[in-house]
């Protein structure tokens, strides 16, 4: 017997139509297990013989409706996983950073042209301060633009909080270990929570340090000790001598945390407590 989307066809040509609407047909398709060894491609005339459709046009229309429906459901389910949107949010955050820096640099150059006696030397003027100085120059379109850049920077801060909150929800254990932002960056770099959960700790340790890693593999420079996880305070606050060890232990615990996040999906206080203790030990903090 051959199983097709419209029903089952026996060797002799006898046919049992599949009952129900598009939804029922889609569910039946998900349950079907076909072996390609004994598979015979369908003939659409069988669907007519089956009494499912009247002609070729109706056959195609019903099949298309079914396929489009299934594809839409699969896509919707894929996007419903929280980490897919988190990916876009993190990338947007990073792009926004780049854009703000570029615009501020350009605006500063413009400001210097308008104010030849101005110099940033010996004055430690940060980007934020620079923007507020430029905003005072009322006569120039530069002031308006500086205001826009400031607004974009405020939006960036808001987005950063949202990324962090989303990471707390999507990857609670990773976020508890390294903070939402760093956890979000790890998820983003791995391409999702499930891919992150499948990475070995040694890879997580150097995520974000790909350049250094491949230079090391190619020409034998010292290997990178840490990538994104350097942003964690235990790593960057550790003295040089123990930094590698802290990064290694942290990555090992992150690998476990990512798997709990992916496959269990809830906060595990017991794991977090032992993991945190182990990381603190490695850092030599009592």
């Amino acid at each position: 017997m051959q199983h097709y989307w419209f029903g089952d066809v026996e060797e002799g040509g006898a046919c049992t139509p599949a009952e129900g609407d598009v939804e029922a047909l889609a569910e039946r398709l998900d349950r079907l297990r076909i072996s390609m060894a004994s598979f015979v491609p369908l003939a659409w005339e069988d669907a007519v013989a089956c009494g499912v459709v009247a002609d070729r046009r109706e056959y195609l229309d019903r099949l298309r409706a079914l396929c489009i429906r299934r594809a839409e459901e699969t896509i919707a389910a894929y996007y419903r996983q929280g980490d897919i949107e988190l990916l876009q949010m993190v990338r947007m955050l990073d792009e926004t950073d780049t854009v703000i820096n570029l615009l501020t640099e350009r605006a500063t150059e413009w400001y210097i042209v308008r104010n030849p006696q101005f110099s940033r030397k010996y004055r430690a003027i940060g980007a934020k301060k620079m923007l507020s100085i430029m905003k005072k120059d009322r006569s120039s379109p530069l002031a308006r633009l500086a205001g826009e850049i400031e607004r974009l920077a405020a939006e960036r801060t808001r987005l950063m909080r949202e990324v962090s909150a989303r990471a707390d929800a999507v990857a609670p254990n990773c976020s508890a270990l390294v903070g939402g932002l760093v956890a979000a960056r790890l998820v983003s770099r791995a391409g999702g929570l499930a891919p992150l959960a499948r990475l070995p700790a040694s890879t997580i340790q150097v995520l974000g340090a790909e350049n250094a890693l491949f230079t090391h593999l190619r020409s034998g420079t010292p290997p990178p000790k840490h990538g994104i996880i350097f942003q964690h305070r235990r790593v960057h606050n550790a003295p040089r001598g123990t930094r590698g060890r802290v990064a290694r232990v942290l990555a090992a615990k992150l690998a476990i945390a990512a798997r709990i996040d992916c496959y269990r999906g809830e906060l595990s206080p017991a794991f977090l407590e032992t993991a945190q203790r182990r990381i603190d030990d490695a850092a030599g903090v009592a």
């Binding site: 398709l29 072996s35 390609m36 491609p41 369908l42 195609l60 298309r64 396929c67």
Partner: protein
């Protein structure tokens, strides 16, 4: 196949992906489509109005839309969610396109949906492209033709493309196909070849 002053075109509703129009026909650019490149190089098998086609690796449905302009119907298989969204839009406007969200390496998943076809077009960026072709052979009619767009760099970035193509041809012939021609798609697409096969 319709050509206007040597330019390959297809009859159908335009505006699918911002393609140029020529006397009411849609220009089918060999630089954008590997299948068009194959036709531009004089290879392949012409699409006929009665043909039913299985297209593996349909992506955004740009090439699929041109194929659908010529053929009776196209079963378009694509795996990735993002391009699938575009493919569904194409299928809404072209009533002879059946969009199937499935993995071309696992034909059992879409076997209940696809009928026997006159032509299979395979354009997937996967390492084992010959293996995928052999797995999808049950869908091809005995007198059908299989067109495999081989991305040599997807098989092995470091190997010589010519060697990759030769290995794919050997694998297809070992699987019982008769390779009619293997056409390099330069200058339109680098390190690509179209392998046209038939069954005995």
């Amino acid at each position: 196949m319709i050509r206007i002053d040597g330019v390959l075109v297809s009859p159908g509703e335009g505006g699918v992906y911002g393609e140029r129009m020529l006397q009411g026909y849609r220009v089918w650019d060999p630089r954008r489509s590997k299948l068009a490149a194959l036709y531009a190089k004089g290879g392949g098998r012409d699409l006929e109005p009665w043909m039913r086609i299985l297209y593996l690796g349909a992506a955004n449905g740009t090439t699929v839309s041109h194929v659908a302009d010529y053929a009776a119907c196209v079963y378009a298989v694509e795996f990735a969610p993002r391009p699938m969204q575009d493919l569904i839009e194409v299928a809404r406007r072209r009533t002879n396109v059946v969009p199937i969200m499935a993995d071309a390496t696992r034909p059992a998943a879409y076997a209940p949906l696809v009928e026997a076809v006159d032509m299979v077009i395979q354009d997937v960026a996967q390492p084992d492209q010959a293996g995928i072709a052999l797995a999808n052979l049950p869908f091809l009619k005995p007198d059908g033709v299989y067109i495999l767009m081989l991305k040599a760099r997807s098989v092995d970035v470091r190997a010589d493309p010519e060697a990759v193509i030769a290995a794919a041809v050997r694998a297809l012939e070992a699987g019982g196909l008769v390779v009619q021609a293997a056409t390099r798609l330069e200058p339109f697409h680098r390190d690509h070849a179209a392998i046209v096969c038939t069954r005995q």
